[in-house]
Symmetry: C2
Subunit: 120 residues, 2 copies
Amino acid sequence: MEFEQVGKMFCQHYYGMFDSNRASLVALYRDQSLMTFEGAQVQGAQKIIEKFVSLTFKEVKHEVQTIDCQPSLTGGILVVVSGQLKTDTDAPHRFSQMFHLVKEGNNFWVSNDVFRLNYG
Amino acid sequence: MEFEQVGKMFCQHYYGMFDSNRASLVALYRDQSLMTFEGAQVQGAQKIIEKFVSLTFKEVKHEVQTIDCQPSLTGGILVVVSGQLKTDTDAPHRFSQMFHLVKEGNNFWVSNDVFRLNYG
């Protein structure tokens, strides 16, 4: 189904950008975008990118393991991801992330983003 | 903030019902509700409850560890949960779950539900 293809392509694009040049993710957020990162709430593309850029690791690699997609009531797409994250020389961390994608023309932007590392 | 209180109260209510009488969760879903349970997609309150009731464990206990809430574009609430799940005498499993809650009068119903066990 189309929403699944879009969700999977989005993840490939998003984590590819995150892992190579995370400042470039600014293009995927808007002023209304909400992000909750390890419990800290941030609003707006600029502040979200400042948060990403402030993260202290130099190298990062996301390995996506599951992607679940659903259409939302507004015609957007909910995308729920789980996987592993490797930063610098640290042991891998499990993470989960949720996005709500809003369609605008032929593109999508992120209205909601919740990221958590999964410990224990 | 109000959406956080609602999200937390919803989780307490939801997992309390799940762990004591999961058939009663039918009241929280509608015909439009979408659930993705370990990658399997189900639509509609009746089919979602059939799925829950078909799960083979007798006893289940959810221990919620993190709850992240955000307002959605439609005035609903996105709730992202992580925690541990104990079934019968099995070792605990980590899980993550995402809900989108839609307000209707003074109540909320679940339009979207994505559940995953987190392995590894």
